[in-house]
Amino acid sequence: MCASVKYSSRGPALIPRMKTKHRIYYITLFSVVLLGLIATGMFQFWPHSIESSPEWTLDRRSVHDAPLVKLPVSSPIPERGDLSCRMHTCFDVYRCGYNPKNRIKVYIYPLQRFVDEVGVPISSTGLSREYNDLLSAISDSDFYTDDVTRACLFVPSIDVLNQNSLRIRETAQALAMLPRWDKGMNHLLFNMLPGGPPDYNTALDVPRDRALLAGGGFSTWTYRQGYDVSIPVYSPLSAEVDLPEKQPGPRRYFILSSQTAIHREYRTELERLKEENGEALLLLDKCSNLSQGMASARKRCYKGQVYDYPQILQESSFCVVLRGARLGQATLSDVLQAGCVPVIMADSYILPFSEVLDWKRASVVIPEEKLPEMYTILKSIPHRQVEEMQRQARWFWEAYFRSMKAIGLTTLQIINDRIYPYAARTYEEWNNPPVVKWSSVSNPLFLPLIPPRSPGFTAVVLTYDRVESLFRVITEISKVPSLAKLLVVWNNQNKSPPEECTAIDGLSLDQTHMVERSECINKFASVFGTMPLKVVEHRADPVLYKDDFPEKLKSFPNIGSL
């Protein structure tokens, strides 16, 4: 108060000193600011212009505007992945910290274009559509943070989904140049097509230090259990084709093979099976006589007959998913989408998300050498199990396979579960489709325990006003040897509980009472969404209840002898 008075008293003294120069300065500043305001307002409240404006690249940025980074030839290369890495050795858990939400924070590096010294990019495709979708999904999720200091997990924006489009050495160098790389600690790479000809390694060949790998097509020899995450190979058809869910049940074909790149040896075996079992098997291959321009990915042929793919998958109970050059096959995703039970024949393959998904309930895994016995094996499966697997297969696709978003977020959730295992999702949450979640009953007291008599029981008596009958109940109950405590809940707010027994009018038959109770039942059922009460026709009685037997030898002679 005092200060402001002082200031204002000083004010007038300053004004005369202000020259025209200052006034012009102020006016100019004011107009500039006003113009700026108007411009900002335009951008804020003119949404269409932002979306469509080609000049505005800050929001929807183009890859070509991402900063160019030149990799010196001598730039360091990370070490090859360490096979002994586990969460407790290669992962810095301190970065994730303790947080009440039990949720990890994921940072995505800003987009950069890496080129070698002569300006050739490290990847032939650059940022792929799928990887862009994946990163967008992560950035829109609860996992995302743009604060690099709070992040627990780092996702590079270098796309390594397909190893074939990468220059291995330069990609590795680019990874090592990331500002927080730190020997790959807490970095997560997504790869779906690992290895290259001729021997197709089952994990990404890019040297990556300690980085975690979410890979499609791991074998048991490259998969670091509890560290890496096995992910599916995304099928672009998932987004293109809309296959409505088909009710589980018998299908036109028993077994269907739709893959085009099956090795000769296996195709011969399949053909032999086809000869033995005829119509039950449908053995498709790519079409050779299709006119140019038709999408060959969407057609399959058998002896000149053309079938729509993936629609034809819905016509079969079982669908073969054989290993190709790689273990992971995008066909698996199509098959699951069609609600067809995958018959997976890829020895040593680590099934997608096998850490949390119970594949035994959704697929049949057969060793490659048992391919000739496939038909017999599948025939031995009870048909109700086939239906359950069909439903389960579709559910896996819907929840975990259908989009890059689903794949990415499932991967993060799995890693999250490892870091906060006590808050991990349960088997049921991962594996039960919504229909089972609704209909199943899980008893919170699931252990078959027959509690001993010793601690007895607590009687809770609710009373409103009828003190006489209350006292009668108390007298009777207190005779029971197992009674440990008796609790009376006095439910009348207008009266205090009586000190001693007084005569109060007895039970009167109240008509509205029953009506009220019926209303209660309806109200409760509507809140539960269903009627949880079940009707049974039996009642528990003592073993010798009302039997023609000496009363004094009965454990509970009073029951039934009213």
């Binding site: 303790y98 060959s296 295992p421 001993p452 049974v536 528990a540 073993v543």
Partner: protein, 744 residues
């Protein structure tokens, strides 16, 4: 006036500046941030450093060109058959997997059979290893013929490979190499509890195991070959061979908190491997509800190494009783010792004290099949200081579930050496069977993997245990199986009356007559005409056990098992079936019997007297799930089944033992019209059997024989009988649904 203007100008300028900053600030990435936040439904304070991930918009190329699979190069890759052969030769030793180091063809012919080498003279075998071998030899997997075997187990004691231990077997290397069937360890299973020695406690066994599988305690994730080795728990010398103690939880308490939140009492290693965590425990100890006690007093020369805290710690250590803490704590800390696993783990599990694991890199016991997140809290040694707040943050519902799961896991897989060994074998069998292996649900929910045989069916709904969890119901009809032992001579025989009565039940799908009579089958027309199909099966060898054969023709979930002389009315059958639908995993039936401990004779007794409780419902008139036929035939050892067949007695007792061992619950008696025993036909062979005084003595013997095989008495008493609602109530008989049951 001028002054006012200037003020206005400066004020406006200031305000505009503020506004500008508020809306967009410096043109640059900021607008993107704000738009981005709106897209995510608002959010944090906008105090962010660095750039957010931009949503790039241009048309991208797909990650996989799609035509790649068509190229010649892709298609002509190495022959998969050759590839498999290469794998088998390359991936050896530490990289062994079932695909490369196990010969599946040995299991093809005879199924999963296990051979144990004969014990050599002069070889000392520790008690624990003897228990392991005995468990294998007593199991249904055992074969004494090596040519039939799929898996081989050494008779040389490999449990203790600590060179300083008195049980250490010397020259194991040469002994193993000289075994004619060793074959570089292929299809062999080597058990081990301790490996390495002071000071580094490596996981080396001191001999070359070749391609053998390891069933090892305290194994680290680094050395563990997933899908090939089996991690087993460390168990003490005194661990019972079979049966074993039950878990200590007698009743659930709600809320589930106990006196202590978290306890530990154990040795502290002042130096060397594994000392860090235990040395740091005192930071978390608060002497109230978190009691973590260590002692330095162990080993010969502890005084030499002792540090400043030792005396204080030792004093505190002696103040508390370990047992008292164990049974009164919600959580029990299980930190690593010198080796990764410790005895604390099984102790905590049995005591229903939820284990809090603090042993980084320990591949937990049976981790291949057990989901430990449901039965333990997996902590991280690096985050020791967070452990108290972590366990405090666990919701009480979760604690209740964790605690019950500890008891389930203890009783299903850990309470005896036999269970540990059988679990190990079943895990390996699951790998061999592959497509018929158990699902995770079978392993992790009651009654557990040892009682659920996947060969029976791969469909969970075919078992009696998963109906509620899957939200399904058993098939609403039953199959009656009538056990016939007397020839059909007259049309008034009780079996024909029974047939007609049962066939009239609205829930009856079919009737199977099991012809176990020496006389030939009666002609078809001798059987009464019924509305349901009657199938006559000739019993295999006409032995008792054939009545519990899992016949293909039983298509319903429920089986109504009947003796030929049973007298039952249609109403009684109907009522019993409706009761069974509520308890599909238990035996529901009429004639009840009881067992008792005869302390004079120190053995179990059997009584058929009318008593106030019962523990068996005889299978002369009982409904149960057809899965128990399969279990009876394939789970029980032939020694017990042969005994039943020879005596032609006790099959019903054995069935009750089996079902109670699986469910841990008593059977259910339902009310009946007349007293079962008195109505039995005088002239039937069965009745003469009952009259035989030996018959009763045999049943006593059976009880004791069965109890010794099960390693304890699985039967549970019940005082409850299920009657129809309104049974014998004083209301009009017309209002009662099952009125026949009351009529005499």
């Amino acid at each position: 006036m001028q002054a006012k203007k200037r003020y206005l100008i400066s004020l406006l300028t200031g305000a505009s500046l503020v506004l500008l900053l508020y809306f967009g600030g410096v043109p640059g990435p900021a607008p993107a941030t704000s738009r981005h936040e709106r897209a995510r439904g608002g959010g944090g304070g906008g105090r962010r450093s660095g750039q957010p991930w931009p949503h790039a918009s241009e048309p991208f190329q797909p990650f996989s060109p799609g035509d790649e699979t068509d190229t010649e190069e892709y298609n002509a890759h190495v022959s998969p058959r050759q590839k498999r052969e290469v794998h088998a030769s390359v991936y050896r030793g530490k990289r062994c997997r079932m695909d490369s180091c196990f010969d599946f063809s040995l299991c093809r012919r005879n199924g999963f059979k296990v051979y144990v080498y004969p014990q050599q003279k002069g070889e000392k075998i520790s008690e624990s290893y003897q228990s392991i071998l005995a468990a294998i030899e007593g199991s249904r997997f055992y074969t004494s013929d090596p040519s039939q075997a799929c898996l081989f187990v050494l008779s040389l004691d490999t449990l203790d490979r600590d060179q300083l231990s008195p049980h250490y077997v010397h020259n194991l290397k040469s002994k193993v190499q000289s075994l004619p069937l060793w074959n570089d360890g292929r299809n062999h299973l080597v058990f081990n509890l301790y490996s390495g020695t002071w000071p580094d406690y490596t996981e080396d066994l001191g001999f070359d195991i070749g391609q053998a599988m390891l069933a090892k305690a305290s194994v680290s994730t680094e050395n563990f070959r997933p899908g090939f080795d089996v991690s087993i728990p460390l168990f003490p010398k005194e661990h019972p061979r079979s049966g074993g103690e039950r878990g200590h939880l007698r009743a659930n308490s709600i809320p589930p908190f106990r006196k202590y939140m978290l306890v530990f009492k154990g040795k502290r290693y002042l130096t060397g491997i594994g000392s860090d965590t235990r040395n740091a425990l005192y930071h978390v100890h608060n002497a109230e509800d978190v009691v973590l006690l260590t002692t330095c007093k162990h080993g010969k020369d502890w005084q030499k190494h002792k540090d400043a805290r030792c005396d204080k710690d030792n004093a505190e250590y002696d103040k508390y009783d370990y047992r008292e803490m164990l049974h009164n704590s919600t959580f029990c800390l299980v930190p690593r010792g010198r080796r990764l696993g410790s005895f604390r783990f099984l102790e905590a599990l049995q005591a229903a004290c939820v284990p809090v694991m603090l042993s980084n890199g320990w591949e937990l016991p049976f981790s291949e099949v057990i989901d430990w997140n449901t039965g333990a809290v997996i902590g991280d040694e690096r985050l020791l200081l967070q452990i108290p707040s972590t366990v405090r943050s666990i919701h009480q519902d979760k604690i209740l579930a964790l605690r019950q799961q500890t008891q389930f896991l203890w009783e299903a897989y850990f309470s005896s050496v036999e269970k540990i060994v059988l679990t190990t074998l079943e895990i390996i069998q699951d790998r061999v069977l592959q497509h018929t292996a158990r699902s995770s649900l079978m392993w992790n929910s009651h009654p557990g993997g040892l009682f659920t045989l996947p060969q029976y069916s791969s469909y969970l709904g075919d078992f009696p245990f998963y109906y509620a969890g899957l939200g399904i119901k058993p098939y609403p009809k039953f199959t009656a199986v009538i056990h016939a032992v007397t020839p059909l001579v007259s049309q008034s025989q009780p079996i024909l009356k029974l047939l007609v009565a049962v066939a009239k039940s609205q829930y009856c799908a079919q009737i199977i007559v099991l012809w176990n009579c020496d006389k030939p089958l009666p002609a078809k027309h001798r059987w009464p005409a019924t509305s349901v199909p009657v199938i006559v099966i000739e019993g295999e060898n006409k032995v008792m056990s054939s009545r519990f054969q899992p016949y293909e023709s039983i298509i319903t979930d429920a089986v109504l098992s009947l003796d030929e002389d049973t007298v039952l009315s249609t109403t009684e059958v109907d009522f019993a079936f409706t009761v069974w639908q509520s308890f599909p995993e238990r035996i529901v039936g009429y004639p009840a019997r009881s067992h008792f401990w005869d302390s004079n004779k120190e053995r179990w007794g059997y009584t058929s007297k009318w008593t106030n409780d019962y523990s068996m419902v005889l299978t002369g008139a009982a409904i149960y799930h057809r899965y128990y036929h399969y279990l009876y035939t394939h789970f029980l050892p032939s020694s017990l089944k042969n005994m039943v067949d020879q005596l032609a007695n006790c099959e019903d007792i054995l069935m009750n033992f089996l079902v109670s061992a699986v469910t841990k619950l008593p059977p259910i008696k339902v009310t009946q019209k007349k007293q079962y025993k008195e109505t039995m036909m005088g002239q039937s062979s069965r009745a003469s059997r009952w009259a035989d005084p030996d018959h009763f003595a045999q049943r006593q013997t059976c009880m004791n024989k069965f109890a010794s095989w099960f390693g304890g008495m699985p039967l549970v008493h019940s005082q409850m009988r299920l009657d129809p609602v309104l049974f014998k109530d004083q209301v009009s008989i017309l209002r009662k649904k099952y009125r026949e049951i009351e009529r005499l």
